[in-house]
Amino acid sequence: MSKATHSPARSIAAHAVLLTYTLIALFPVFVIVINSFKSRKAIFSSPLGLPGPETFSLIGYETVMKRGDFPLYFQNSLIVTVVSLFFVLLFGAMAAFALSEYRFKGNTLMGLYLALGIMIPIRLGTVAILQIMVASGLVNTLTALILVYTAQALPLSIFILSEFMRTVSDDLKNAGRIDGLSEYKIFFTLVLPLVRPAMATVAVFTMIPIWNDLWFPLIIAPSEATKTVTLGAQMFIGQFQTDWNGVLSALALAIVPVLVLYLIFSRQLIRGITSGAVK
């Protein structure tokens, strides 16, 4: 940044605002993590205190390891998230390419129809989804979850990606056509690499709600074999008694994989958010 447009006072103010926001955003995560390392008594006596020599306890993590099959829950969550993410990116990008690249009858209508899902929450259709899953025998399978999540994330991903695809040079695609590349090859080798930042943006926006979702696992896949982490953590919450050590430890563990995925995408993400603003 040039000195002429940036005074120290202004940049201090900007940083103060950003730091405050960061603190607010990170505070709940911080509380979950510190309390997961404390004994039950300490959680209640000083919820904001750091774990000390007297209060430190791994009882929560031991409970998580002993009760329930958490490695399996993690595996389920990962499978559901990663596979849904893959389908969302693949189908979303393909639909976006078709909408932005080809002129056909009903192109605009199709785009609007596909974008409609952004405005209507998929949970409104829960009953119908459950009926479909029962009828097709997919209840209590990961497939059911993957199908629902793919459908849930497609509208936004198509909307974002088709805007980005429009910015890919027509000349480049035409050069590919003249060199004899098939439309699939043009899509996969020329267009997709150029919209990679947008794909990362979509991936992050898609991944987090899927990983955190409790609703659909609870309704369409509550069996022991298909439990996800968020659902698994629920078994520590009872009507009369809640094992807070277990809940907090399970949640602290659940943050880790999503953090790793986020770090993988974040380098691309920053480019994705800022690109388009300046060429």
């Binding site: 050069a175 080798t189 150029l194």
Partner: protein, 333 residues
């Protein structure tokens, strides 16, 4: 080896017709330039020839074969784009080789063709680089190289010099002229710059609003423009158009005189006027004169000519070089 015929080619986007019945014959080895203002349909026509756009009617024949249902890669054409359109993830060499690999050309053949093209365009030092590591001029040379290795029947150029700076534009123009002489290939070139058209073409096709206004060699168009549009488009500075009646020319609506065919005199002449502005270009001097009877006239004089603004002058036209146009803008011969 590469001829092209267009038979009443039409194109419309919805209700708007952008090309009306285009007929054109291009002989083998000819360098043909489509020129016209932006939006005149010249690029659309080129894209129809390439097969990147479907026509709404009419036929395109390459080497006598109807190609309307042939995909671009099988038409025996190669195209150079304004934005270079190099594959960003491939090296210069792979950029040039990709089309041949797609066509399953034997590897040795690809090697020799790429080597020949890179030699011709002095790209040997850059073969291992990616497009991002090249300058604009080098990128355009790679794009031309990619076209050459395909040994096409027809080269198509879509405003290839528009993204280059002035000095590079002249160099690349010379390069393209040299390539045309060496390869003796048929080339079709689209530009909005009449200087490029005049300097490169064997045959210029002047287009306006989806129609061909006139086809001819550069000097034919300069000497015998068919109508007002062509007369105004070819030549720089633009031809002066003056109301015929006010100047006493019978039987015409407008008369046209090129700035280089006007003479200035301080004492006597056809039209009296006052100097408004003088442009010194070094070899030429353009003088703008506001006449009493007509509007401002541009006069091109050769060498260094000094005229003070507001001085009174007489402008006279060489009668041999006065064009007369009728009501519809057609030239009267």
């Amino acid at each position: 080896m590469g001829s092209l015929q267009l038979r009443s080619v039409r194109k419309s986007f919805g209700a708007t017709e952008v090309l009306h019945d285009i007929d054109l014959d291009v002989a083998d080895g000819e360098f043909v330039i489509f020129v016209g203002p932006s939006g005149c349909g010249k690029s659309t026509l080129l894209r129809i020839i390439a097969g990147l756009e479907d026509s709404s009617g009419g036929e395109v024949l390459i080497d006598g074969q109807k190609v309307d249902n042939v995909p671009p890669a099988k038409r025996g054409i190669a195209m150079v784009f304004q934005t270079y359109a190099l594959y960003p993830h491939l090296t210069v060499k792979d950029n040039m080789a990709l089309g041949l690999r797609q066509a399953k050309t034997p590897t040795e053949e690809i090697e020799t063709r790429v080597a020949a093209a890179s030699n011709m365009l002095s790209l040997d030092d850059y073969l291992k680089r990616r497009p991002a590591q090249l300058s604009g001029g080098q990128r355009q040379r790679v794009a031309i190289g990619r076209a050459i290795v395909r040994e096409p029947k027809l080269f198509l150029f879509d405003e290839p010099l528009s993204n280059l700076d002035a000095a590079l534009r002249v160099n690349t123009r010379l390069e393209i002229a040299r390539l045309h002489r060496e390869l003796k290939a048929t080339m079709i070139y689209v530009t909005h710059d009449q200087v490029e058209a005049m300097t490169l073409a064997d045959k210029i096709v002047v287009m306006n609003a989806g129609r061909i206004e006139q086809i001819g060699s550069p000097m034919e168009l300069y000497n015998n423009p068919a109508n007002l549009f062509v007369a105004g488009f070819i030549g720089s500075p633009q031809m002066n158009f003056l109301p015929a009646e006010a100047l006493g020319f019978a039987g015409a609506k407008t008369i046209g005189v090129r700035p280089e065919h006007l003479n200035l005199s301080p004492e006597k002449g056809d039209w009296k006027g006052k100097v408004v502005h003088v442009e010194h270009l070094g070899a030429d001097t353009n003088i703008y004169v506001e006449t009493e009877k007509a509007d401002t006239i541009t006069v091109r004089t050769f060498g260094e000519v000094h005229q003070a603004p507001d001085s009174v002058l007489f402008v006279s036209a060489d009668p041999k070089h006065v064009y007369r146009f009728d009501e519809a803008g057609k030239v009267i011969r």
